[in-house]
């Protein structure tokens, strides 16, 4: 009986405790220098900047950074890396949160910032084709006169390529979906340096395997994206923002559930816990009631938005929601949402000496209140500070732990809280990450979440990247003891 190949993926071992295990890539770098001359930098500062990480994971720089100008640069570089079996990692803007851009085995970083062309807008079809270095703010700025917009908003001004790689989503996902929903087609450089296209500009297809969705969220481990065709959406005639307070997390979550069940086409529905509101009050001298609070946004026609707001008012009343204020005026909208916009910096200011570390999880919405409450209790019992903000319409929330990363004990406590949250989410039939991805930081939860489906993922990885050159050391499970902790 022939079974699946389960050959381990290990040209590189994962133990970074011994720097001597980092392979010597000088031959491959020389070949790249011959090909790319000044497009290639081996400057240590440049390399360090490209092993960017927003966690406590130690910086692991690549050996060289290539500024790619087009898909042919990428294809040539990947082919050389494959020839020399050297790792290759694509870099967008460096806003990933789980060490996706670290180079634990050295190798080449391909910086996509110069591939920032907006290739084609098709107004009639509501599609746009962009290069991976385009950022979401750049794209929306470009679209400003078309009446169209690109809705996915993960907070950071991420590159579209990076958003594809991590299957990004954010505040608008409850209405407009995540990257998996808005990408129509990709151009991808495979591990052998071949350029393929996945998908077309048709809105749907039943022709063959969905390589587009396979590449989305694969964090650069199956291919490097060199062009992306996206769906766009019309900007609504009317936008309204609102805010309201609840006696408890449970009440707020019940109101969210009812909102979703009633098919209210809410565009954003964000939960801030009492600590987060307190942080916002202190940060911007506000006087919001320090209880769990929902921030909402409605998109539609004038009448439609008014009707949505009224329905929402009726819903929250049932669950003890108070002080519901909403407005369509842009200045007033910004004022209402100020606390939400400031959440990150306000949280950080609760403990200025610490580093704010963001983690996320996503559960079925019926389990959200329980998951958030248990996590808040964990944080409190550990004596940590960790405000909670959630894209609660999707059952997705973030904890921003304020950690002294020079203190190993505190790191261990934070890791424990994050680990318990990941396991709790998985046990609730949810996921250890709704939008940040696995990277290096969440590899230890992959087995628990996917069980033996990991074998199928691994078989795909081995088939598509037999030399394991594409972003090695990411996604695949390893024991916690092997983690790359600074």
């Amino acid at each position: 009986m022939t079974t699946l190949s389960t050959a381990p993926i290990t040209p590189y071992n994962l133990n970074q405790a011994d720097p001597a295990s980092k392979p010597d890539h000088s031959e491959a770098i020389a070949a790249l220098q011959a090909q790319f001359a000044e497009q290639l930098s081996v400057n240590p500062t440049v390399c360090e900047q490209h092993g960017h990480t927003m966690t406590w994971l130690a910086n692991q720089p690549p050996d060289a950074v290539l500024t790619a100008h087009d898909k042919h640069d990428v294809a040539k570089a990947v082919a050389i890396c494959n020839q020399y079996q050297m790792p290759v990692i694509a870099f967008g803007i460096g806003s990933s949160l789980e060490g996706q851009l670290n180079a634990p085995f050295g190798g080449l970083c391909i910086d996509m910032h110069a591939m920032d062309a907006i290739v084609q807008v098709n107004n009639e079809d509501l599609t746009v084709t962009v290069q991976p270095g385009v950022t979401r703010e750049q794209l929306n700025h470009y679209l400003r006169d078309t009446g169209l917009f690109f809705p996915i908003d993960p907070g950071a001004n991420a590159s579209i390529g990076g958003m594809v790689a991590t299957r990004a989503s954010g505040t608008n996902a409850v209405r407009y979906g995540t990257m998996k929903d808005v990408v129509l087609a990709l151009e991808v450089v495979t591990a052998s340096g071949e350029i393929i296209r996945t998908g077309t500009r048709a809105k749907k297809s039943a022709a063959g395997y969905d390589l587009t969705r396979l590449m989305i969220g694969s964090e650069g481990t199956l291919g490097i994206v060199t062009e992306i065709t996206l769906k766009l959406f019309g900007i609504s005639e009317c936008v309204a923002s609102g805010i309201c307070h609840f006696p408890s997390i449970e009440d707020a979550c019940q109101a969210v559930m009812m909102t979703i069940q009633m098919c209210l086409p809410i565009a954003r529905i964000e939960l801030l816990d009492a600590l987060q509101i307190k942080a916002c009050n202190q940060y911007a001298n506000l006087d919001l009631t320090e209880t769990p609070t929902l921030f909402v946004e409605f998109h539609g026609t004038d009448d439609g938005v008014r009707e949505q707001a009224q329905t929402f008012a009726d819903i929250i009343e049932e669950f003890g929601g108070t002080d519901f204020a909403w407005d369509t005026d842009e200045t007033e909208r910004k004022r209402l949402w100020q606390a939400r916009h400031n959440a990150y910096h306000a949280s950080a200011a609760l403990r200025p000496s610490a580093k704010p570390l963001s983690t996320d999880a996503c559960v079925p919405i019926s389990r959200l209140a329980e998951c958030v409450s248990a996590t808040a209790k964990d944080i409190e019992e550990a004596g940590m500070i960790g405000p909670i903000v959630g894209h609660v319409g999707d059952g997705n929330f973030h904890v921003l732990l304020l950690v002294d990363t020079t203190n190993p004990e505190e790191i261990a406590t934070a890791e424990d809280i994050i680990g318990r949250l990941a396991m709790r989410a998985i046990e609730m039939d949810g996921t250890c990450t709704g939008e940040h991805g696995i990277g290096q930081g969440k590899r230890q939860y992959m087995d628990k979440e996917h069980g033996n489906a990991i074998g199928i993922m691994r078989a795909i990885k081995t088939a598509l990247d037999p030399n394991n050159i594409l972003n090695p050391g990411k996604i695949w499970p390893q024991s916690l003891s092997q983690a790359n902790v600074a």
Copy 2:
């Protein structure tokens, strides 16, 4: 330099001209009989019924049919098939359109009709978990008191498992998406007989490869689905149906484009060409204007639906749309949509001696009018009868060719029209099939549509099903001359 494995997938060759090439599976069948006793049938009539095809492709029955009662039956049967390298094909209800259920190399058909349990409804989360033999009508009947519904409607009362396999969509897709958008998680039996789970009940995840979307649309060539978790939607307070006529296909398509661009959340928008309207008039003694006609449906609140209908009325006026009638009363709604509901049988009645053969294609909406018109011209010039019906909000449309399948010349003409349509759609940056799938019937267009991305699909297939036992002879390109034509 190590490159991708491009080993051909050929334990079975595709040339069915020689029936002697069909392998002898008696040993494997004996092993299955020992395991399953009366659950297994080798009755030729039963086998023939399970090699169901709704095209001109000849019936190619399996050697045996297993009635599966649970996932363990499926896992055991697949493991035995893998051991003996015998093909295995899952059967839902037999409504696929491109020969997906044929068994060109014989083997085992696993009939899923007895796996028809609705495992769990989660009203609060708007999710349901079902076995693959549940049909969409059965599911919606079951949900009738919950205020929720499952929106994907491909026309036939297909099984949910079959709809996953073919990435089905249909009339509601413009608002609610396709199977790729509404499936949250799958349980799948892999080629080795292992049971895996892909995904969770969380609405989104960034944890690892999207195996769910990889399985959806893979037509049983990567695994056999044994359980499906679906998103549900709330039934709108108000539903309105409407109809209006246009001077030309171009005008109708322009109105559709404007409707989509204005973000009107239309639930259905269907185009019937003049010939189709004529057929409907004859069939049901109606007196509709015999011009291109749009059938629409609006879902929302009472006020919301009224506003949508008014906006739509304003849009169509710009493009010469006339006689717009709409209603929220159920009897009146049915009367208005009667022609759309009758389309298939009305078309068939245009030539009762012929077999109605349905094909589909999908293009960017800006190219829809051109694609439909060129196809109608092809049909006319060939002297064929082929009314056109489209899910035009998605750029997807069907041609129902009325073919005397006893006449090889007519089959050749029909194949030529279908081939020209497939190639035209691909050249317009669209796809040779929006919702029917590839099966046996559209393999010859895969190379044109996917180019060298086929190599990546093939590498995945080889990695996940090394013995090519899962529905062999489907999806992969072959030359037209090798096609299995009756």
